[in-house]
């Protein structure tokens, strides 16, 4: 135990100064949620005061009952005992009912708040720019929505109640004890400072250990999640033992952090009990002496001032009150640390709620309708981060109904062009116009509706195939769904499934291949019928035979629409009206297949690389 101090310091240093105060701004914001339910809060408060007060009166009644049987009276007043005990029953019963009602109300209140918080967080998430999701891990967003909001909620429903109840109990028992024996109160002059010192020590020392514990557990979970998703690869390389060993290290770290926290936390319960027992012994000793004085006064032997005496019933109820009194004080450290973790959770949730949403549409933004599909891009410059320009200077004119293909090596900025057209990101300079209107000046919603997009990423949600296809247009009839499924060449496959269109697509998509998923996304796109079309590697997961089969449908889809196509297979874009060859963020060549081929430039060499071996 000699190295205790340095060890503690080391841990504290590792953790940095994490003791941090509970931020008032965060508390105020949580309070705002509570204040939306003022009426309910008021009812809860009244219930709490009343039920606690009733519970506080009960020991006083037991005092009277016991005094009635105290030996010094000589006789026993059974009637008083009965009356007081029945009253006690009534008070406890009433208090029990009230505290049940209170608990139910608090559950409801906290659920109302949690509902609002979740809804607000989700709605805010949907307004955030796409970039937010590119830079924040999905797991992180999920843990905000589930773990963090839950933590806030637990604290709201439990701690808040606890704090109010504690304050009432502490003050109430204090008053009761003073009324019984002001001198015995002096016992707490000794025990309360012990509690406070201990609570302080605990808050400062054990709390960071608990934080470290949850941090290590998070790391372990992250590692497990990652490795499980790579299970097939680990097997293929026979690396079970290496990965297992690393897991064991993380496991040991996590368990160690847990153990350390518990090692010190193990003192809490017994110490709290000790302080209680200490009070009890002091009260018993002092109270016993006072009771002796009381008896000797009664018998007239002495005339000790009343302040130094106590009746037996008084002593008994004093002991009960002292337990009630000590409880909240010892619990206080706990509550504070819970509140703190709730605050740090709330802070994380609020941080998302405060993150900048997509800038709202201009006030005078017009709705883009009756779109012909003339797209012009002029001197566009853009970078995801300020100092790294991805697109240096891009210009392009695309007439209505034209097919524009974008080709180029991996990482040349092809997808970025799409991000800009859809206004997932805003350009740094230059302009993009549709039918002569700056896309900055139209509403995002109408802009995006003007496009239909099929991406390499085959995103589908948990639901039936029919629901997923209908996602393209909610009012589509079943016939429409079947029609586009046929066009996308997926109908017969869907029909071959046992539940057909009602087949539920599971999360990991194990039940349906990637190629089929992509065909469903194509069917979905076919349903939405917009004047412009974006195909970003739309058929990369589909084998070329299938691709050929749906080619016709794709051409039908493209007919009369302005199309932007990104593809690796140059064969698919040979009939494009304009082919843009993008390299390192610049359009280095532009023209149709024939002119580009005859120029014998980069496109020409790309084209020939297809046949290289």
């Amino acid at each position: 135990m000699t190295d205790k101090t340095p060890k503690r310091k080391k841990i504290a240093q590792e953790l940095g100064d994490t003791r941090g105060k509970i931020k008032m701004s965060v508390l105020r914001r949580i309070a705002k949620y509570l204040l939306q339910h003022k009426g309910m809060m008021a009812i809860c408060f009244v219930l709490m005061v009343v039920s606690n007060a009733l519970a506080l009166v009960a020991p006083k009644l037991s005092e009277r009952a016991i005094n009635a049987i105290a030996p010094e009276n000589g006789t026993i007043d059974i009637e008083t005992v009965w009356i007081n005990c029945l009253l006690m029953l009534a008070f406890y019963a009433l208090s029990g009912i009230l505290s049940y009602v209170l608990a139910v109300l608090m559950v409801k209140l906290s659920k109302k708040i949690i509902y609002t918080m979740r809804r607000q967080l989700f709605e805010h998430l949907t307004t955030l720019p796409v970039g937010f999701f590119d830079t924040h891990a999905t797991g992180e967003i999920i843990s905000r929505m589930s773990y963090d909001i839950d933590t806030v909620n637990t604290s709201l429903s439990h701690d808040l109640l606890q704090i109010c109840a504690s304050i009432i109990t502490v003050i109430g028992s204090m008053i009761m004890m003073i009324s019984i024996s002001p001198m015995l109160i002096l016992v707490f002059v000794i025990t309360i400072p012990i509690s406070i010192i201990y609570a302080k020590f605990r808050a400062g020392f054990v709390r960071p250990l608990f934080r470290r514990r949850s941090q290590k557990l998070g790391e372990l979970n992250g590692y497990a999640e990652e490795m499980l998703s790579g299970q097939k690869t680990i097997k293929a390389y026979s690396k079970e033992s290496v990965i297992g060993k690393r897991f064991d290290e993380k496991n040991a770290e996590s368990v160690e952090a847990y153990y350390k926290a518990e090692y010190y936390a193990a003192t809490v319960g017994p110490t709290v009990n000790f302080v209680n027992n200490l009070s009890l012994s002091l009260i018993a000793t002092l109270g016993g002496i006072f009771y002796m004085f009381y008896i000797s006064n009664l018998s007239g032997e002495t005339a000790i001032p009343a302040i130094f005496t106590i009746s037996l019933g008084g002593l008994s109820s004093f002991v009960l009150y002292s337990r009630k009194f000590a409880g909240p004080i010892n619990e206080f450290a706990n509550i504070i640390s819970e509140l703190q973790s709730a605050c740090s959770s709330a802070e994380k949730v609020f941080a998302i709620m405060d993150s900048e949403p997509e800038p709202s549409d201009k006030e005078d933004a017009v709705i883009l309708d009756n779109v012909k599909g003339e797209v012009s891009i002029e001197n566009v410059r853009f970078g995801y981060v300020e100092d790294k320009v991805i697109i240096k200077d891009m210009s392009l004119e695309a007439g209505a109904g034209k097919l524009i293909a974008i080709v180029g090596p991996t990482g040349a900025g092809k997808t970025t062009v799409i991000n800009l057209l859809m206004r997932f990101y805003d350009i740094d300079s230059g302009s993009i116009r549709i039918d002569g209107k700056e896309i900055k000046d139209v509403t995002r919603d109408s802009l995006r509706r003007a496009f239909t997009m099929v991406l390499q990423d085959t995103w589908l949600f948990y639901g039936t195939i029919a629901e997923n296809i209908r996602y393209g247009r909610e009012d589509a009839t079943d016939e429409d769904v079947v029609r586009v499924a046929k066009m996308a060449n997926i109908h017969s496959y869907i029909e071959s499934l046992p539940s057909g269109y009602e087949t539920v697509l599971s999360d990991d998509g194990v039940n349906i291949s990637k190629g089929h998923r992509q065909l469903i996304t194509i069917a979905r796109a076919m349903l939405s019928d917009s004047p412009m079309l974006i195909l970003d590697e739309a058929t990369s997961n589909v084998d070329s035979r299938t691709e050929q089969k749906i080619q016709q449908a794709m051409y039908a889809l493209m007919e009369g629409r302005t199309c932007f196509v990104i593809a690796h297979r140059l064969s698919t874009i040979q009939n494009a009206d304009t082919i843009l060859v993008v390299k390192d963020g610049d359009i280095i060549e532009q023209g149709n297949h024939d002119t580009l081929m005859s120029a014998k430039g980069f496109y020409w060499s790309l084209y020939h690389s297809q046949f290289e071996t």
Binding site: F122, F133, K239, L286, L315, F611
Partner: protein, 574 residues
């Protein structure tokens, strides 16, 4: 819960000592109110202040002893809980790593994940809690009853009568609570699923202007969850008031009966006071036990889920050569009349046979879902064939020990995984390869160019799942990994779909030159990726519909010709 006992077994002695210390601690605590009643009933009437102070000191001493022994016992409990958790997690993870792919598919990855994380946590929590509370509380109750029996048997009996009532009430509430709790847990899953989906598909949602639709979908899940949580919460809200009220009812009755007994000279007033003290103690213990019970249902459900995985014997054991005799044909890899089905209903692979010599290249091409990947997975024995044989150097893969089998392969799979760590770590993949080997592999895989573009080169840190790489960069990194271990057989499953043709061609050339003598299997959708293979098989609906070289297939297999024409766009190749 048997599981927990099993892991405690090696530390039997330690557990026994811990339990003993805990029992001693609890018994000491029980003596404290006893002393109180002793003071009031015997010392006070005797009128000796000195004695009162001495006995007060005794009480204090007991309090100190109880505190110390409890702290020691609690710390020992933490140690046991640590040990059990560590062991459980270790065993579970180890077992998961050794499960076959079929078994993993059955459990599903998200489910295994939550077993490994939240379920082990629940068990840990339960072990700690049950050893602290679960031991202390019953001893408190039993001890309390014994001590009170010595004080006054009649009053003790009254107190005991309330206990079955409490037990029934708590039992009913818990019983009702478990299904409610499970239901709300499922609702959490659906809510989380929507958040997960939407975070991943935000582009599509915004592109289709589906924000309102998603909000409604989330709102529905949110409402359902809140309503389920409400039900569970309200059910549980009853437990504390019921226990408190019942206990206090008992207390009031005790006082009344006590009064009669004191009147009848059968008891003393001090005893009633001590009784009240014990009552408070016992009621706290009862509330503690209630909590243990709630935790037990959670902990035991979790332990069951863990035990389920650990009890799963990994299939795909190494089988004897007698069962699957070797058959040497001189081929490196051979498939003989192989049939296989994932779900046991419809065959995913039907009667596939082919042979591949040492150092040769096999190209597998075919429609989406035609069984290309399945063939590769059967070769690596992720699954066992239903009939037929898969052989490497004449030996059936079922007779080759796992370690030996797996070290033969360098593999890139579809949706292969990259973990958070440096580029070097990701290529090395725990094989302790030299820098030279890693750099050579990256060079062949055409990955060097982008790796050297980073300031910290091979030490550059990657995000989980490689989100800070482009699709093409990811694939090249994975190919580097496959090439780095000097494998005997290289399996590239759709490993270059995100590469442009030029890089793809360069890559293939580099592999051909740099990996001479390595038998290679390429699963692809591009004809250009496989056209130079020594053998190409064309798959359709689990069957081979064409087998031969590029030029042979152009003649013999109409499907192949169709694919080839469509991709090369009918361009004339001179």
């Amino acid at each position: 819960m048997k599981l927990v006992l099993k892991y405690m077994k090696p530390m039997r002695a330690f557990v026994a000592v811990t339990l003993t210390v805990k029992v001693i601690a609890t018994v000491i605590e029980l003596f404290i109110p006893y002393v109180l009643s002793y003071i009031l009933d015997y010392m006070v009437p005797a009128g000796n202040i000195g004695n009162v102070v001495i006995w007060g000191g005794v009480m204090l001493l007991f309090a100190v002893l109880a505190c110390l022994t409890n702290i020691i016992a609690n710390r020992m409990v933490s140690r046991i809980a640590r040990r059990v958790t560590e062991k459980t997690r270790h065993e579970l993870f180890d077992r998961i790593l050794h499960l076959s792919s079929r078994q993993v598919d059955e459990f599903t990855i998200p489910s295994l994940e939550s077993r490994l994380t939240s379920d082990t946590y629940n068990v840990h929590h339960f072990v700690g809690m049950s050893m602290r509370m679960g031991i202390r509380a019953p001893i408190m109750i039993v001890g309390g009853i014994i001590v009170t029996a010595t004080l006054d048997v009649a009053m003790m009996l009254i107190m005991v009568i309330t206990m079955p009532l409490i037990a029934i009430a708590v039992g009913l509430i818990t019983k009702r609570g478990i299904p409610l709790f499970k239901k709300s847990q499922r609702s959490v899953d659906s809510m989380v699923r929507i958040v997960r989906e939407d975070s991943q598909g935000i582009r599509v949602i915004k592109a289709l202007s589906k924000v309102d639709y998603e909000r409604r979908r989330f709102d529905k899940a949110n409402k359902q969850l809140v309503s389920d949580e409400n039900k569970a919460g309200i059910n549980m809200a009853a437990s504390n008031p019921i226990v408190t009220v019942l206990l206090n009812f008992g207390l009031a009755v005790v006082i009344v009966v006590g009064a009669y007994r004191v009147q009848g000279g059968l008891s003393e007033t001090g005893k009633i006071i001590a009784f009240i003290q014990y009552f408070t103690m016992i009621s706290n213990a009862m509330i503690g036990i209630t909590r243990v019970f709630v935790n037990y249902s959670k902990g035991s459900a979790s332990a069951q889920r863990i035990a389920e995985v650990i009890a799963t014997e990994p299939d795909l054991c190494v089988e004897s050569e007698d069962k699957h005799p070797a058959k040497n044909t001189g081929a490196h890899i051979s498939f003989e009349n192989v049939s296989f089905s994932y779900l046991g209903k419809k065959n995913n692979i039907s009667d596939v046979s082919f042979e591949l010599g040492h150092g040769e290249t096999l190209g597998i091409i075919g429609a989406t879902g035609s069984g290309k990947t399945t063939l590769a997975q059967l070769l690596m024995r992720f699954y066992d064939v239903d009939s037929g044989n898969v052989r490497i150097d004449g030996r059936d893969v079922r007779t080759i020990p796992h370690d030996e089998l797996n070290t033969k392969f360098g593999v890139v799979q579809q949706n292969d995984f990259i973990y958070a760590g440096s580029i070097r770590d990701n290529i090395d993949f725990g094989r302790d390869l030299s820098d030279a080997e890693i750099e050579r592999a990256a060079g062949l895989a055409q990955a060097e160019e982008f790796i050297l573009g980073y300031d910290d080169k091979y030490e550059h840190l990657l995000n989980s799942k490689g989100t800070n790489l482009s699709g093409g960069q990811r694939q090249r990194l994975l190919i580097s990994r496959a090439l780095a271990g000097s494998p005997e057989i290289l399996v590239l499953d759709d490993s270059s779909s995100a590469l442009d043709y030029k890089t793809d061609a360069k890559l293939r050339r580099a592999i051909k030159e740099g990996m001479d003598g390595v038998t290679t299997i390429i699963v692809a959708q591009r004809v250009s990726s496989v056209m130079n293979a020594d053998l190409i098989i064309v798959m359709d609906d689990g069957r081979i519909i064409g087998k031969g070289t590029h030029s042979e297939l152009l003649e013999s297999c109409s499907v192949y010709k169709e694919i080839s024409d469509s991709q090369i766009g009918g361009a004339v190749i001179d």
